[in-house]
Symmetry: C2
């Protein structure tokens, strides 16, 4: 299969595929942010990525494939969760990251466009689910470290705890359409931690409260 | 100004406006659920409501006005929050209502369509914010009753508590695209309650924990 019309400056075989993919991802994100899912077309992505339309169809199948791959690539960003040495501070940092991302219009555009696209494309919804599954799996290491330090009980549902920190923020951003700020980030983190300490995220049958946090916390 | 082409069977002056409005609302919801915001047109609403297009433009201005009014009308449904006599049971019932609504495709269609439309229309976003502001203001009575019974501290941010119950469910439904079920409803309610009891929703400066719940709770 021949390689047609990749972006300028991407001639080396090793880097070409990755750079083409990144160029296509950037065009998909720009298009989603500017026009939304239903208005985005393969023609738009071809024009803005410099990758020929026939290449896009051959490699990505269709527009939904392009969106799904852009999300896959977004998930390969090497992001890792905060590691401050304290569960409370890690959860606060996580919440503040969400607020910082979504109160900066440039940073918010791509994730907002993906969340919106998922309402109208099952394949985008599947890709978004995969993205968040991976993202929250990484977050769970933060809880595992807290368990090792005795700040959370061993039976805790780490995924539920880290989702509980983000949920009140995303709920206001994308459902109730209310403002989010640093105070709300702190409240979300403190509430999730209090629930964790009370055993609310323990697996069924392990409803005993978490150990008291160390006196230094 | 003349009244043109209202729906059949809506001739009495008193009921006509209300019934026309309801017919238009139903057409907007059907259209949003079936086609999404960008594909919905005033023509579609006219055809499916039996209300003439010129009437729609005159009364509602444009498509965004139609969506906003459909949401306003949805907010006038007389819904009231659970009143079981126990804060924990009220919060559980609230969470189970959310799960029941969104796991029933027929019940989920309209609210899902409104949440989706808010991504693409500022006026729909404003209307959605107004809808949830009213809805959660009603929910706050549930917390006020709990404060009177001594189940929650007087300084509690009732709005934050009731949002905390719904947030993990909506977050999974519309952002992470993960399944929700009765167990997650219970976990959300229990976690929010534990956070409330720990004082996490108290106003700044009132961070003392809530009173211990009565022994019967």
């Amino acid at each position: 299969m021949e390689e047609s019309a990749v972006a300028p400056g991407t001639r080396r075989p090793g880097g070409r595929t990755a750079r083409t993919r990144a160029a296509v991802r950037d065009a998909v994100i720009t298009g989603l942010a500017e026009h939304g899912y239903p208005a985005l077309t393969v023609e738009y992505v071809a024009e803005h990525s410099g990758v020929h339309k026939t290449t896009l169809y051959r490699r990505w199948g269709n527009l939904e494939g392009l969106i799904a791959d852009a999300l896959d690539l977004a998930g390969e960003d090497g992001w890792s969760p905060p590691d401050t040495g304290s569960l409370e501070e890690d959860l606060r940092a996580l919440a503040h990251e969400v607020v910082a991302s979504f109160t900066d219009p440039a940073a918010a555009a791509a994730p907002t466009a993906f969340v919106a696209a998922a309402f109208q494309s099952d394949r985008a919804a599947d890709a978004l689910r995969a993205f968040y599954t991976t993202r929250f799996a990484r977050c769970e290491t933060l809880v595992e470290r807290a368990v090792e330090r005795g700040e959370a009980p061993a039976g805790i549902d780490a995924g539920a705890l880290v989702r509980a920190v983000s949920a009140p923020l995303f709920f206001r951003l994308f459902v109730t359409r209310e403002p989010v700020d640093a105070a709300l980030a702190d409240q979300s983190a403190v509430a999730a931690l209090a629930a964790a300490r009370a055993g609310a995220f323990n697996a069924p049958g392990e409803t005993a409260p978490a150990p008291e946090p160390p006196a230094s916390a």
